[in-house]
Subunit: 354 residues, 2 copies
Amino acid sequence: MYQLNEILENKVINNLISGFERCPHQLNKPHESDAEIILLNDNTKLAITTDSISEEISTGLYDDPYLIGWMIVTVNISDLAAVGAKPIGILISEIIPKNFSDEKIKRLQKGISDASKKYGTYVLGGDTNEGEKLLLTGTAMGIINNEKILSRVNCKVGDTLFSSGKLGIGNAYAISKLISKTNTPINFQPEARINLSSIINKYATACMDTSDGLISTLDQLMRLNNVGFEITEKFEKLVDHEALIYSKKLNIPSWLLLAGQHGEFELVFTIPQNLKHEFLNEAEKNEFEPIELGEIIPEKEIRINLYDKSVPINSGFIRNLPFETKGDVNHYLQLLLEYDSELKKSYDLHFTSN
Amino acid sequence: MYQLNEILENKVINNLISGFERCPHQLNKPHESDAEIILLNDNTKLAITTDSISEEISTGLYDDPYLIGWMIVTVNISDLAAVGAKPIGILISEIIPKNFSDEKIKRLQKGISDASKKYGTYVLGGDTNEGEKLLLTGTAMGIINNEKILSRVNCKVGDTLFSSGKLGIGNAYAISKLISKTNTPINFQPEARINLSSIINKYATACMDTSDGLISTLDQLMRLNNVGFEITEKFEKLVDHEALIYSKKLNIPSWLLLAGQHGEFELVFTIPQNLKHEFLNEAEKNEFEPIELGEIIPEKEIRINLYDKSVPINSGFIRNLPFETKGDVNHYLQLLLEYDSELKKSYDLHFTSN
């Protein structure tokens, strides 16, 4: 029942790669890692990942060239962070429209340059083409210095679930851009957590970035590890403050900030009980304040603390919604709101503060 | 006068990268190499390159999904071949239109899979997005095992200029698809010369693939090395037989098959005099028949053997033509034909067999 292929995105990928032979030097299996991990030789493990920014531009979610430049670096470096790799650099292919002004190009490149500096990395090269719409593809690579391979698999019941930071700002931003269409959207310029990845790599049993939002992330981890997750932390502690205020203003249940698929590029990771104390000590020394989200449970479900009850969420349904609503964001939100109402009815939930 | 920035493509790239810091571990400078070369540690030199297939699809030059899949691997592996790297694998980001049929996806992926097998390499990972038009970006990486760094720079006057194979089929194909628009286009499924790259790497002083056609390739090598090139070989020996017949049928001067910018993914490389004999011996043993195109000359110009005279070609003008004709292929060909007429007048050339 909890198969990877229940999720349309996984099914599409499995279909695309079904005829491909696997590289014998590749240490990760499909879906099991945010970045591909390749054994170059006895001493060198390379992590490499590619991500395009396409739909975010064509839907209008990203329209500031600076943000687009910032994001093409961030989304790729975030994948390196999730496997504990130290970045070497990034290659960027840019499809630039004819009518794209010099001023916009400058802002785009400044976003790329600033993000690269932020993460202590470099643009190694690229490609440029003319096209109808702006579209960027980045490929980042880094070196994994640890013996251990950190990936999405290997967590166990009893491990504690953490996030590297507060969640929900990505979806609040998406609502402000695509649904409210306000002139003053929510601030959004996430930072890939590459500076935390060596600490996390030292202790974690599994790790994945929240590029698709928390619930999608946990759903994928659930399917890969055959375990479930229970979020026990209060929403005020785990949801970004600005995002929380914004969702209340719009009368959108705040847990939907975790359900939408425009994430915030935090790292979600699991720490075994016997290392938790040591991990928290080292985190504190490094002024890193991880958020304890909850724990791993044997039931293959995602439970969240909703309206003061622990409720299992149909995360497969939530993940497939964007495909099924075919890019109609208003319809998408409407179905999420209907699902929230159904949950309230089914579990006899009463609105309190969430 | 012979500056890189005279070429609009170089200028665009220099403008894009002007604010970027260079990676301290990167062994090549901008423009100087078909692939980026990164020193990972004392023992490991990585070559990495990215290339998109975008305009080739939107113009209708490539419309067979199998060819598109084949080419996204070939263009990237060809860049690795030019720096003498042994491929590890490729990552591919695919933007797929909503209405792209399952049958077309199968053909696209089969092209990718067949090309990967041909070059003994693997698809390591990728990304997939929905978009209006099909667009692929590949990033290939490989290891350079030699001490020597083979790049576009380092050739000298007196070196012999070679090609790994016959030229012109890429432009003949482009004419058949975009200008003649015939139902039976010229066959085009080039192979990256990765199997020859270790021999070439052993002897060559400079190397570049002909992805943009021979004259563009030589023009870039000229600007980078401050030398010129004289093509002395007869056209019948260096131009692909089918392409030659086709150009004659259409009454297009056959040297224009070297001027157009849809190349054939051969390697063009230079061999110093003292190694030429040994190189040719080793090539023969490996059943590799390189074509001796001509030689490096001190004058910074590209001379070709045109209508039985050695004539300098305005390669900068030829390279900038696609930008200046803004994708109007008929206008582009018309201007090339006018340039051919001017050359005939200026140098008092008489049509013989070319």
